[in-house]
């Protein structure tokens, strides 16, 4: 009897179990879509197939790629901000007149400071024997000056900001041996491990025309060079001959990012003019640079060397006789030996960079003459340590701390107002994507000085993907005040910006 009862119970359990399994399977199957409409997958990625009807059309279709972008953006400075007119010499106030604004016209940089249309084109051609050709061009026109009145802005400002057409990278590259590549042309070489600061990254000049807001694509300016790259397993060696002297593109006199430098000649009653720092030539002796790197599981290292022109020129205080003198900007060749490395563990990445710079030009006190100092070449040690964290949901955070230390810095009241023996820079970047990577948000803070006493900047930006081709980016840029040097002079340059970009 008991056995019969147990058998009945087991049979019932088995029946219930089988029934439950069927229901579960039905539930499972019900969650899957019935049919996929493959027509939803059609895209125009195949490219312009009509090309193949023309002579060489097939070759062009398969080997030539033209891409680029068109963007329009606006920048509004919401603080009251004026600067000395760029066409008028910056001068110290005459005796008895303490107001420098009386010396000449002022340019108004309050409100709309940029309303531009800019374009970028990139042509890639695949050549035989695995060679490739790249040619980039970029340019923009800024309507803000026409809207606000071009006459209110100096020539150097209009030269740099109103419109420009420039070449980007233009080079041919390919293998000359199984493991050796040759690149010839205007090229960007981005060395180092830091994302925010430059330590061993000394080869290419920067575009600083709008500090904190220069598009990432345009941040570095290519330089003409011949480059050999050799690779074997984890090892990479690179040798570069830099043929072109090219400098950082900096804010010109009369712009909203140009500091008041009249203090250079204070008390002398002299008129000082400053040239626009934007030129290139091939007349100087070529520079050389090289690196050797190894990439291994969980870590890597690189050693770097360069003997090239500094990408930023410094004031050469050579004084001409007479009441007027030009503070000339002179190029200078300097040397660098450096090292860099990464170590990863789990979600963490540690990075370090170190550079010993020799013959870096700086200003030095002068015993007499019109200016209180002149140019001198010194040695400097730059170092960086950083830590990145790759968290959940595409959250990343990167902290980098930089120290730049002059060796043998002379003691001078005037000099030390502009130069400190040891300076610190700290950058914190936090980014995260939202809505399935449709929105990218980045917070960036950079402060100068070990206690942020020398100013800094903060930028919050967001980029929204409207469609595959269209994006809109908006942001808020704030400069923290500091002493009248470095980025501290920008503290009335806070601004918001908005840009629409179409990529093809």
């Amino acid at each position: 009897m008991a056995r019969a009862w147990l058998a009945a119970v087991f049979a019932l359990q088995a029946s219930v179990s089988a029934s439950a399994q069927d229901e579960e399977l039905d539930d499972l199957m019900g969650g899957f879509e019935e049919e996929l409409d493959e027509s939803t997958l059609d895209s125009d990625a195949a490219g312009p197939e009509w090309l193949v009807r023309f002579p060489f059309g097939r070759w062009v279709y398969e080997n030539v790629d033209l891409s680029g972008s068109i963007a329009t953006g606006a920048v509004v400075s919401y603080l009251d901000h004026h600067a000395d007119h760029g066409d008028r010499p910056t001068s110290p106030a005459p005796p008895g007149d303490p107001d420098p604004a009386q010396l000449g016209r002022r340019s108004d940089f309050t409100g709309l400071t940029r309303l531009d249309l800019d374009g970028f084109l990139q042509l890639d051609v695949r050549l035989p024997r695995e060679w490739q050709l790249r040619a980039e061009a970029l340019g923009w026109y800024d309507f803000a000056y026409r809207i606000k009145g071009r006459g209110d802005y100096g020539g150097p400002v209009l030269d740099v900001y109103e419109w420009q057409v420039d070449s980007g990278e233009v080079y041919a590259s390919g293998p000359i041996h199984q493991r050796i590549d040759l690149t010839v042309g205007r090229k960007i070489v981005n060395w180092g491990r830091s994302d925010t600061f430059r330590i061993v990254d000394v080869v290419n000049p920067l575009d600083n025309k709008e500090p904190g807001l220069v598009d990432i694509e345009d941040l570095r300016r290519p330089r003409a060079m011949a480059k050999l790259d050799a690779n074997h397993g984890p090892w990479t060696a690179e040798a570069i001959l830099v043929a072109e002297t090219r400098y950082d593109r900096n804010p010109p006199p009369g712009s909203d990012f140009y500091p008041n430098l009249s203090r250079f000649a204070e008390g002398e009653g002299l008129i000082v003019t400053f040239p626009v720092d934007d030129e290139s030539n091939f007349s100087r002796k070529p520079g050389v640079a090289g690196r050797f790197e190894g990439n291994f599981s969980g870590w890597d290292f690189g050693i770097f060397g360069a003997y090239v022109d500094e990408t930023s020129r410094v004031f050469d205080a050579e004084v001409q006789p007479g009441p007027t003198f030009d503070v000339r900007l002179e190029g200078n060749r300097f040397g660098m030996v450096g090292a860099a490395g990464n170590v990863t563990r789990g979600a963490w990445l540690a990075k370090v960079e170190f550079a010993w710079l020799t013959d870096v030009r700086m200003l030095r006190p002068r015993a007499g003459g019109a200016l209180p100092f002149w140019s001198d070449d010194k040695q400097r040690i730059d170092s960086m340590i950083g830590l990145e964290w790759y968290g959940p949901d595409t959250l990343t955070a990167a902290l980098e701390v930089v120290n730049r230390h002059w060796l043998d810095l002379p003691r001078s009241e005037v000099l030390n107002e502009f130069f400190e023996q040891s300076t610190f820079e700290t950058g914190l970047r936090i980014s995260r994507s939202f809505f399935r990577e449709r929105l990218d948000v980045t917070l960036l803070g950079v402060v100068f000085g070990e206690r942020a006493q020398d100013g800094g900047l903060f930028r919050a930006s967001g980029e929204w993907e409207i469609s595959d081709a269209w994006k809109v980016e908006t942001g808020w840029l704030v400069f923290a005040g500091g002493p009248n040097k470095g980025i501290g002079v920008y503290d009335s340059n806070d601004r918001i910006y908005l840009e629409f970009k179409y990529s093809f």
């Binding site: 990625a45 990464n342 990863t344 563990r345 990445l349 990145e388 790759y390 595409t394 990343t396």
Partner: protein, 274 residues
Amino acid sequence: MSTHTYPVGFLRLSPLLFVAGLLFADPVLADDPKARAIMERVDARDDGDDQTSTLQMVLIDKNEKQRVRELRAFTKDKGEDTWSMMFFLSPADVEDTGFLTYDYDAAERDDDQWLYLPALKKTKRIASSDKSGSFMGSDFSYADMTERPLEYYDYKLLQEAVVEGHPVWVIEAVPNNEEELDETGYTKSIQFIRKDNDVMVRSKIWVKKGNRNKYFNVEKLEQIEGIWVPTLMTMTSKKGEQTLHKTILRTSDVKFGQKLEFDQFSVRGLETGP
């Protein structure tokens, strides 16, 4: 675009979609030898080597609005490890962005990953990240795209069934350690394994975060050079009956035995482009 990590070990074209479990202490979840034997066959299935392919990923939101990502992918086996490299072909603003990954079979070893950012002209080493995150905004996660260690899961053969006219085994996969659950973000999955070719053709996944389910379905399975390759797949995220988001992944131009060089899977190869 985000510069978050993009592991690319998924380029085996057969997302395993192993999943994690919720009741680690429950003795009911003891391993089933028959189910494990089936999963070992799935794991051992020939999925090719020296592979090149083009991937198209269509992301469809709940309003049917689409975004399209296209990539060119290269993979090569190095022993039990997989080296892979992929490049964005579109959208245009991230074209040529490249990812290089050394996906190590040893569970305790972190993957090595590099990211090439053409806008910066720079290759950057990146750290391994949480694999439960979305892969390029899709419904696939990084964990879906990498091979998960079999030993991290307990398997149970639930029943046998028929999918699209093919007999299948229905197997439940549950992680047997908390680290794997945290890494994948999945609490359980039920997988449908075709008996004739050991290919997983369907999977229902229970996602820990947001109390959601994901449904993986192989829409098209082709035999290329003797190797079974899912060439059209969907992954649909649902909350209850409501579809939240859907991803269609199509692979084309699949070739095996391309004699890819190991040196190609390097920073140099990343910067040279596809």
